[in-house]
Symmetry: C2
DNA sequence: TCTTTATATCGTATTATTCGAATATAACGA
DNA sequence: TCGTTATATTCGAATAATACGATATAAAGA
């Protein structure tokens, strides 16, 4: 009995990766993530200003990214900085947009 | 004026990639796609048998993958074979699961 | 033409996402 | 403590995704 290419017995092994992709599968969130690849670290106001969308909307997207483990946060006074936290995400974004020089 | 890391002016450049990720962001569809990386070509009945879910459910997932350009089809008599059609998808799946020897 | 097999589509109930205003919290300075 | 700034959470309405039975189509063979 060989291992089939598809197997319902390990369908649940796809749950976590599918969740990660779902977290990335929104234009605003994808934009945020690629921005974080360029900028390494960024607070909410800056993103909000660049993207020009309501604060609660940005914040909700960030919470979704955080819930999926895509980003972590570092508070610095009033500001909260967001930072990429999962190396798979960078590989995925590179697959989509191509590699890019990063800020020195 | 420098180019910001985030920019609402090209937010729409994220629509297509986000759509691609959305198509992949379901456990069943991800399983199908990884199966197609191993098996290269596969008909619906085989997938259905492996995954043990209703035929209409599989078919709908396949249509969603096809709509996003993830797969194409080749009819052979009664059967329809599905084949991966977007190289970005393989890079993404490799980022998630690691590379793997493919069937010779 | 009739049947069978393989796949696709439709109808629809259920659940999940999304957005943005309103409100809450957390940290800082006066 | 009070006010201000930065961020998070809550709420509700609109929209989209999902599952699956029922039904339709497409190809092949008798």
């Amino acid at each position: 009995m060989t291992i089939p290419a598809f197997d319902k017995n390990d369908l649940n092994q796809f749950d976590e990766p599918a969740n990660l992709l779902k977290a990335l599968s929104h234009p605003i969130r994808l934009c945020i993530v690629r921005g974080l690849m360029r900028k390494k670290k960024c607070n909410v106001s800056y993103m909000q200003e660049c993207l020009d969308i309501p604060q609660s909307t940005i914040s909700q997207h960030l919470q979704k990214l955080r819930g999926a483990g895509v980003v972590t946060t570092e508070r610095k006074g009033l500001e909260v900085n967001y930072i990429l936290a999962d190396p798979r995400v960078e590989a995925i974004v590179n697959a989509l947009f191509g590699e890019e020089e990063c800020e020195a």
